[in-house]
């Protein structure tokens, strides 16, 4: 899967300030892109545009060559389901970890969502969290759970917003392992981070992109 932004400008509804200005960018399966930049520069917004959640006010979003925003809603939905964006701050529903991780599968009407979720947790070494309630989790655990939730639906593109934020050293290691595995399976990964990237380098970063004042520069 390839998502390409061409000349994308974005401003929030009702605002005249453009958060993204004339962005050109390309992400694809099997490649890892790092987006870095100061806070407020537009990293999150950029991720959301790539995740097909935000519509640009100017410019084109191409998904495998098609102009996404001029497609019909059904097609948009099926395309969007292949891309998952994970928020910086974990947003979990009331319920158990298992139920949360199964959410993506449930939304897609996949039978056996719960067992699928359990599988994912096991593969990530997190099955000990399965029965815990959403509010019993530490910040780091919640973050891993929200990532597990994304991984469970087997996306072709995974967009992570500051995934290391609440993780301690061990968990960062775990995440790196998971992302390496995903990359080797052909999943495209985009990570926005303003953290030191040392650990992330071990995933194997193919491109680093810097966002400053809404403008994107390749490095």
């Amino acid at each position: 899967m390839i998502i390409e932004l061409r000349g994308v400008w974005f401003a929030y509804p009702g605002s005249r300030r453009h958060v993204l200005r004339g962005v050109h960018m390309r992400v694809e399966g099997g490649r890892v892109v790092m987006i870095e930049g100061p806070n407020g520069a537009g990293k999150t917004t950029l991720l959301k545009v790539l995740a097909l959640l935000y519509r640009p006010v100017k410019g084109v979003v191409l998904v495998d060559g098609d102009d996404y925003w001029s497609l019909d809603p059904r097609t948009q939905l099926s395309l969007r389901r292949r891309v998952v964006y994970v928020h910086e701050r974990p947003i979990l529903l009331r319920g158990s970890v298992l139920e949360n991780v199964a959410l993506g599968l449930k939304l897609r009407g996949v039978p056996g969502a719960i067992s699928g979720a359990l599988e994912t947790l096991r593969a990530m070494g997190l099955e000990y969290l399965a029965e815990r309630k959403w509010r019993e989790l530490s910040a780091g655990e919640a973050q891993l759970v929200s990532i597990a939730r994304a991984v469970a639906v087997q996306p072709e593109l995974l967009l992570l917003d500051e995934p290391m934020a609440h993780l301690d050293e061990d968990r960062r290691e775990l995440l790196v392992e998971i992302l390496r595995e995903l990359k080797s399976r052909g999943v495209g990964i985009v990570v926005a981070s303003h953290w030191p990237q040392d650990e992330l380098l071990r995933i194997g970063i193919d491109r680093v992109v810097r966002v400053v004042g809404g403008e994107v520069r390749a490095l």
């Binding site: 009702g14 959301k48 009331r94 319920g95 993506g104 939304l107 639906v153």
Partner: protein, 215 residues
């Protein structure tokens, strides 16, 4: 009818009147809250106006409605004045801004976080909305309970539109006012105690239900 029976009758009436008013108000306030939770300058303005109306003095609203329902008023033909129906309508109007505004805040925050998360995970618009609504449920319930508390504890509307008539429109608050006006402070305090107890009990009951539902 002895005093205990009368107090029971008044208490029951307070519960039924304010309870009905709360259900009525919720029926139109919650959809309104949902509409106002979407972004937009006009919606924002409306929300601000409603926010200002939350604290409207009950006497003022009571007077305005009185002039409408009175024999010489536009809606006089409905013969609502000095009946419990008038109090129900009046209280429902009173608590509408409160329920709408607080539910709106809950819905707004729920939509901003849960709706977006759901969409990012591959939900369609309907699924995302359903998830946001389900997560907003505890907050909305609190909203409604708050509305009930305001209704059951208000005086101005019950007095002006109901008339505090013994046996038909006397409720806890108007009975308290009457007791005070007669200098019967002890009785007034007992009735006040019942009123507070009701509010607390309702709050606790809702909390219990939320716990049971895993909310």
């Amino acid at each position: 009818m002895n005093i205990v029976e009368e107090v029971l009758e008044i208490t029951l009436r307070s519960l039924v009147v304010s309870g009905t008013a709360t259900l009525l108000a919720s029926a139109w306030s919650l959809p309104l809250a949902y509409i106002l939770a979407k972004p937009g300058r006009l919606r924002s303005l409306m929300a601000s106006i409603l926010e200002a109306l939350v604290g409207i003095p009950t006497v003022l609203l009571g007077l305005a409605l009185y002039m409408l329902f009175s024999r010489s008023g536009i809606l006089g033909f409905l013969h609502l004045l000095y009946t419990v129906r008038a109090i129900v309508v009046g209280q429902a109007i009173l608590i509408t801004p409160l329920i709408a505004v607080t539910a709106c805040r809950v819905l707004k925050s729920a939509r901003e976080s849960f709706e977006e998360m759901a969409l990012a995970l591959g939900a369609d618009d309907l699924q995302a909305m359903a998830i946001a609504l389900r997560e907003a449920l505890p907050g909305i319930t609190s909203s409604v309970v708050m509305g009930f508390s305001r209704a059951v504890g208000e005086l101005g509307i019950a007095l002006m539109l109901g008339g505090n008539i013994r046996g038909t429109t006397r409720v806890l608050t108007t009975a308290i006012a009457l007791s005070v006006s007669m200098g019967e402070y002890e009785l007034a305090l007992y009735l006040g105690g019942i009123l507070v107890a009701i509010s607390v009990l309702v709050s606790l009951t809702v909390r219990l239900l939320k716990g049971v539902q895993g909310l």
